[in-house]
């Protein structure tokens, strides 16, 4: 059954829906599924309007005829934007509050800690992290915490930077006490108050690219996206994340998500599904050559050992 048969009259030629499906898989590693025509119609029509195109058809024509990479990223970002809300994954936030932050505080005391929200969409997750930190400020006394939210450059990420949410968005998942404490009215919307907004930095990052430009983090939240990735993209993104988490740092996945057969250098925290701790890089004892014992042919007659750190790649 063709896309147009399934969805009735549509704005685009059927081949474009298949092309957008392939483009999203290639650029973001995300399989949109069979009903993506609805996403194309709703989300891309809005993008076309905001970008000043006469119609959705005009924008998609431009995309496939002229191959603008900026437009391609915008289109894919719009198609893959998750329907999210504040504290959407309650279990993940519980892990952050009850296990991860107390552990980091215990080990680091007064140091600086960096947290990452990977795939932060319109910002509810990193702002939620900032609210948790605010609530725990006495318990975490002395710990300086930076929060970074990353995602593809998109309208959603622009909205995250603005920190302004609609009447409907602030009423999904957010307790009324938090609305009063952390938001202020902004015309018909609600704006995140500055003491929360200023704690979060947002960056444009292609989530499947090399993540070399990012520093390493003590904890990474990556919730709700993993099941949507194709198998190769899942390996790629988790390998990239593994390189971002510090030794003994944490990876917090969403409810029902796990690393399955691969571990990427993480161990599952006992009794906590979806919570992983990065292994310490092992200390390997290697022989050290005693120069005085070298014989003329360059071989060594005796080797003494001493401890030396050697880095190894995580499995």
């Amino acid at each position: 059954m063709s896309v147009s048969d399934r969805h009735g009259a549509l704005s685009l030629a059927p081949s474009y829906y298949e092309a957008l499906h392939r483009l999203t898989l290639e650029l973001a590693g995300i399989n949109l599924g069979a009903s993506h025509a609805f996403l194309v119609e709703t989300r891309l029509s809005r993008l076309a309007r905001d970008e000043g195109y006469e119609s959705l058809d005009a924008m998609i024509n431009e995309l496939f005829k002229n191959g603008s990479s900026r437009l391609a990223v915008q289109v894919v970002s719009a198609l893959t934007e998750r329907d999210t809300h504040f504290f959407k994954d309650k279990l993940a936030f519980d892990r952050l509050e009850k296990i991860v932050l107390p552990d980091l505080h215990r080990k680091r005391g007064g140091g600086r800690v960096r947290l990452l929200s990977f795939g932060c969409a319109s910002g509810q997750e990193p702002y939620g992290m900032a609210m948790v930190l605010d609530r725990m400020s006495e318990q975490l006394e002395g710990l300086k915490i930076d929060i970074v939210g990353v995602d593809y450059p998109s309208q959603a990420l622009d909205r995250a930077r603005q920190g302004i949410y609609t009447h409907f968005e602030v009423q999904r998942g957010l307790p009324i006490q938090d609305l009063v404490k952390y938001f202020e009215p902004a015309k018909t919307d609600w704006a995140v108050k500055s003491h929360i907004k200023d704690r979060v930095e947002f960056r444009d990052v292609h989530l499947l690219s090399k993540l070399d430009g990012l520093e390493d983090f003590h904890a990474v939240m990556f919730c709700g996206s993993l099941p949507h990735y194709s198998a190769p993209a899942r390996v790629r993104v988790l390998r990239g994340l593994s390189g971002l988490v510090k030794e003994n740092g944490f990876l917090i996945l969403g409810r029902g998500e796990d690393l399955s057969q691969m571990n990427f250098g993480f161990d599952r925290v006992d009794g906590s599904a979806g919570l992983y701790k990065k292994r310490e890089i092992p200390v390997i004892v290697e022989p050290e050559i005693d120069e005085s014992l070298k014989v003329p042919n360059g071989r060594t007659t005796f080797e003494k050992t001493s401890k030396r750190r050697k880095t190894s790649m995580p499995t």
Binding site: H85, H167, F168, Q171, R172, G173, P175, I176, Q177, L179, V180, E184, P185
Partner: protein, 121 residues
């Protein structure tokens, strides 16, 4: 089955909210103002109350204050459901004994989310 008292002077709101709350597994009872709601709570205390602010005879604010002073009136989870959006008024409602607060217009996702936050579903 858990019961939810829906208090609003608008028949349409009672009907729309009632349908949403029934879908969440509640049996619904209706009241048209705060006094009517207090009378119904006196007969049988509900598990939850969804109450408007501005109503004739007795408004939602006075209803909550009176409810919390009734025997067993501390038990129901009270969720305001109102067009009033001032932060000061929201704070007053919470101080009077409300557990959660829905700003109109609302949809089923919002009611479900607020009931979940209040531990009702």
């Amino acid at each position: 089955m858990k019961t939810c008292l829906i208090v609003d002077d608008s028949r349409m709101i009672r009907r729309v909210a009632g349908r949403i709350v029934k879908d969440l597994g509640f049996e619904t009872i209706e009241a048209v103002n705060g006094q009517d709601a207090l009378d119904k709570c006196g007969l049988d205390m509900p598990h939850a109350v969804l109450v408007d602010w501005a109503m004739p005879v007795m408004d939602g604010f006075d209803f909550v204050k009176n409810l919390r002073e009734m025997p067993g009136g501390d038990k129901p989870i009270v969720v305001f459901c109102t067009a009033v959006r001032d932060v000061e008024r929201i704070v007053e409602a919470l101080a009077a004994g409300a557990d959660e607060y829905v700003m109109k217009p609302f949809d089923s996702d919002i009611i479900e989310s607020k009931f979940a936050l209040a531990g009702l579903v």
